[in-house]
Symmetry: C2
Subunit: 144 residues, 2 copies
């Protein structure tokens, strides 16, 4: 195959998004009790959350710096630091309910943005590691 060949294409979605945190139990409390995510696979170094057809993976910082050798292959090392950012899509019209819910749990909504040229609105707040979490209603980036 030529080095000028076009990529195969067919990229379907970002499937996995990763966060790196200092305390898995603290992160789980936040993302499960406050954000309302349901844990899937979990161990002492990670927890996975399915959100629609995407996955949020939360890793203990420093716990994935060595390859993970399995019979079926090797997961190469990775790691990260923040305060990084990611966004979750929420249902239209639920922003006020979310805002009240977060504030009731002592989580300050740091900012609200209404996106020009669309009905989309984003709420921004911090998780326990200072990562910037965004909840966005449909329409942002032209995506319903």
């Amino acid at each position: 195959m030529s080095a000028n060949a076009a990529a195969p294409g067919g990229l379907r979605r970002v499937l996995e998004t990763c966060l790196y945190v200092d305390d898995i139990a603290r992160a789980r409390d936040f993302y499960e009790r406050i954000v309302g995510l349901e844990p899937g696979f979990k161990d002492d170094r990670m927890v996975s959350y399915r959100v629609g057809d995407t996955m949020l993976l939360v890793f203990l910082r420093g716990a994935t710096t060595a390859p993970v050798e399995m019979r079926s292959g090797t997961i190469p090392p990775h790691d990260g630091a923040g305060p990084a950012h990611f966004a979750l899509s929420i249902e239209a019209g639920t922003q006020d309910e979310w805002s009240s819910h977060l504030e009731a749990h002592g989580v300050a909504v740091e900012s609200t943005v209404r996106w020009p040229g669309s009905d989309a609105l984003s709420l921004y707040f911090r998780d326990r590691d200072g990562h910037l979490v965004e909840l966005a209603t449909p329409g942002l980036w032209g995506i319903e």
Copy 2:
């Protein structure tokens, strides 16, 4: 609202996934020419890529550490370091084509994993910043 109240729910997907890189032009060359993503919004500190109904946002490291004040609201600061990890979903049966394409562009496939209990297969390689990119065929995490 009580602090014990359940979260509003209705989380639809992870909408935005962020990478932080040291050179936007270098990252764009990699993600556009080699991975085949199409740029959307772009400026000297970021580029956005729509992938299905999700977004990959690539930011110049250190360029988003101050709030971005807009008339419609303020985007709070964020930043990050790696080598972080994310995964893109690819079409079933395209893994060999992707592997050949990457190798033809001098991008080594660092590892291949066939996931137990499914037909899913993942290819792992590094972007120009050392971030661990995964291409996964359908079935991983039970998601088609």
